[in-house]
Symmetry: C2
Subunit: 440 residues, 2 copies
């Protein structure tokens, strides 16, 4: 019989159907066996009654067995209905169970309520824990974030390109960059598609990419990984950095709206509260921000100050977000555009939310002469960025862009404590899928 | 004045507008200067007449200068209209030119007709050649291929995940795999998301990914790169490998339709002829294919045989495509599902088009016991694929999937001679962006 998806069973009351999926829960009550079955569209309760031709197979079945189950969709008696769960008003009266694949006894409790693993165990057993609704909810939200980013950029006329992972020796030096044995030469893993997106911008004006970036972070924190998904955009013909600010704000707003709309169930399951983005996100220069905090000028914000600033803004305006712009020019990369009226400060910006940075960006230098001056002042080797420099040597419009990490945004939206929870296959100093403590 | 996009000028006849873009062509005719201007939406001709307040600036302007141009949109006299080019019925009468960015003299002819570079030169100057309409057309088609793949998979209920680039030591051995210095350990670059997509399939049933894969191919051919974009899909609860065949066929059909619809202009510019996919793509077992070719059985198809088979099928049916399935089990990876009725042959498949492979896939082993037998027979170390094996130890449905390379499909659809033409930032044995012949 044709498979019916569990999510569609509500329209099949009184019908005989076949579902296919996994046994999430099995309760053997002697004469009868109760089940929770699961497929990609949800869960449903089933029961094998004493007279069911499937009662013997039902007794053999175990958690995580893959089964094809035939039965009749019955409406539950009023007193047994549960409006809080999917298919809480129906039950499948099982007439046949076909075991498609057996499972060994589970190494830990995978039930919705009993699941309570330490993070290292969850990651060690990612192949199994990925089946848990709570874990799935995180990655469903992440998929929405990434897809909504692409959707928004396409709506705004941005062109998608594929930024490379393998890069030649970087001009900015070798700190925290992974080295690749490239035949008889050395190559490296990209830390950012920054220079590539600027190159492609000079040809396509508005560009974006969803690509991996790599950082050889030699420390283990709750916020750092060695491999993450970077969402990058770059736009030409801006009038000022404020055009970049506005585009990034509209992008984040769109993503938040899409997550709220498409992942309401997941947000509820995870107990997550979406951050509030008001009509116009408060925007302060670094100098204004430090002043507001009563801190000495000329320094960057430290993490504690970022937290306090977000609290103050939230209290004053209701906004969970705040833009800070205008950082000390010399402290930022060579390509960031200095404010023409006050070149000690640049037109770079960060978007903070709930105390941490969500996104950064700003205006870039597009004038070739000014770019070459910075290359010299920053002590860089122009040969190592020749392709980038070529793009600007032959006419490049005023431009800027922004970037953020998919895992970090997932973590922040969902209020997770560790970025590893928002990463399907974790790579850090001590782990590639599994712990590296045993020599591989 | 607000910027008008060049693609919208046709609706502005008689109006004064400001466009922003690049100077593609400049013809100084003494008293007058003619231009072709270019932005992301197309090109338009402009003229600075002798009495124009912009005539002096027009004479200073050079190719690839970035400009903001103000002028009046005039309908051309009937005899000067050219229906074959965009905006061929209008002309911009220039009243002002604001130079936003200058360009040095170009190292080669970038005009639409004069552009004629050897491939190595095109790649050495990717930052500049990316501006050429012919080069842009290729990557616009590629963006459609990638985006249509995602669109199709989402329509079919597939979940997008991010496959990792950095992987631990692979169980299949170290041939053609790049090594990464991973702190004090070794890691590698993924050759395929195969095992990861199978893992995620056991949790989400239907999954896809768009991710980089890497191959340390120690030879320089027209078809191989070290870094490519792999489009991967995997689906659970199949009845047979034919479900995978059907899904992959529908996917390719959708991509072809989208390219034909969205990139008609680019296909015309590149002189490309889309391959013909008939209602049901001819599908032969390897044995049948060899028999048809009059070749001895039990061998795989060689490139010459693939070409001849495609020609024969095209002649007989009109189809540019043909599926071949049922390869010798021992010659393929351990996870491919052997035909239960004839275990010497498996349920793997390839889709050929115009003489070359476009896509491969097939059914995989989902039974844990059978999988472990193969692991042993293939001489693999189960510890090195422990996460993969865990997914199948705890109940995995009958399943299969397919994969193809974005660059290769771009190359084949467009009839390009070298895969490097279909790659924005080429990585091969001799090149990472630029030639590696100079030590970096």
């Amino acid at each position: 019989m044709q498979r019916t998806l569990i999510g569609d069973l509500g329209q099949q009351i009184g019908q005989e159907v076949t579902i296919k999926g996994w046994v999430s829960v099995r309760r053997d009550q002697g004469k009868m066996v109760f089940f929770d079955f699961r497929d990609r569209t949800g869960t449903v309760q089933g029961v094998a009654l004493p007279a069911s031709p499937a009662i013997e197979v039902a007794k053999e079945t175990r958690n995580e067995y893959v089964v094809a189950v035939t039965g009749k969709v019955n409406e539950r008696p009023e007193k047994n209905k549960n409006a809080k769960v999917q298919n809480g008003d129906i039950e499948l009266e099982i007439t046949g169970i076909d075991i498609l694949s057996k499972a060994e006894a589970l190494p830990f409790d995978m039930s919705a309520d009993g699941y309570n693993l330490e993070l290292p165990t969850e990651l060690d057993h990612r192949a199994l824990t990925l089946r848990h609704p709570r874990v799935q909810a995180i990655f469903k939200v992440q998929a929405t974030i990434i897809d909504s980013f692409r959707e928004f950029m396409k709506q705004e006329g941005f062109f998608e390109f594929q930024a490379p992972a393998i890069v030649p020796a970087t001009a900015e030096g070798g700190a925290e960059v992974f080295e690749v044995k490239y035949f008889d030469k050395k190559a490296f893993l990209s830390q950012s598609p920054q220079l590539y997106k600027q190159i492609v911008m000079t040809a396509f004006e508005r560009v974006f990419s969803v690509n991996k970036v790599f950082r050889a972070e030699p420390s283990v924190t709750t916020r750092h990984l060695t491999e993450v998904v970077s969402l990058d955009a770059e736009m030409a013909f801006i009038d000022s950095w404020r055009d970049v600010r506005d585009m990034s704000e509209a992008c984040v707003r769109y993503i938040l709206e899409q997550v709220a709309e498409k992942n309401a169930k997941e947000l509820e399951l995870l107990g997550a509260t979406m951050p509030s983005m008001i009509a116009e996100t408060p925007t302060l220069s670094l100098t204004e921000a430090l002043e507001k905090l009563g801190a000495p000028a000329d320094k960057d914000l430290n993490p504690e100050q970022e937290r306090r600033l977000c609290e103050m803004i939230k209290e004053e305006t209701g906004s969970d977000f705040v833009y800070v712009y205008g950082y000390p020019t010399k402290q930022k990369p060579f390509y960031v555009y200095p404010n023409p009226e006050n070149p000690e400060f640049n037109e770079g910006m960060d978007l903070l939310c709930r105390g941490v940075e969500w996104l950064s960006g700003g205006r870039r230098i597009n004038d070739y002469t000014q770019l070459m001056e910075h290359v010299e002042q920053w002590g860089m080797d122009p040969k190592k960025i020749e392709m980038f420099l070529e793009a600007f040597r032959y006419g490049a419009p005023p431009e800027g862009g922004f970037a953020f990490g998919a895992e970090r945004m997932t973590m922040q939206i969902l209020g997770l404590k560790n970025i590893r929870e928002a990463t399907m296959f974790v790579r850090d100093m001590n782990r590639i899928d599994q712990s590296l403590s045993e020599e591989i």
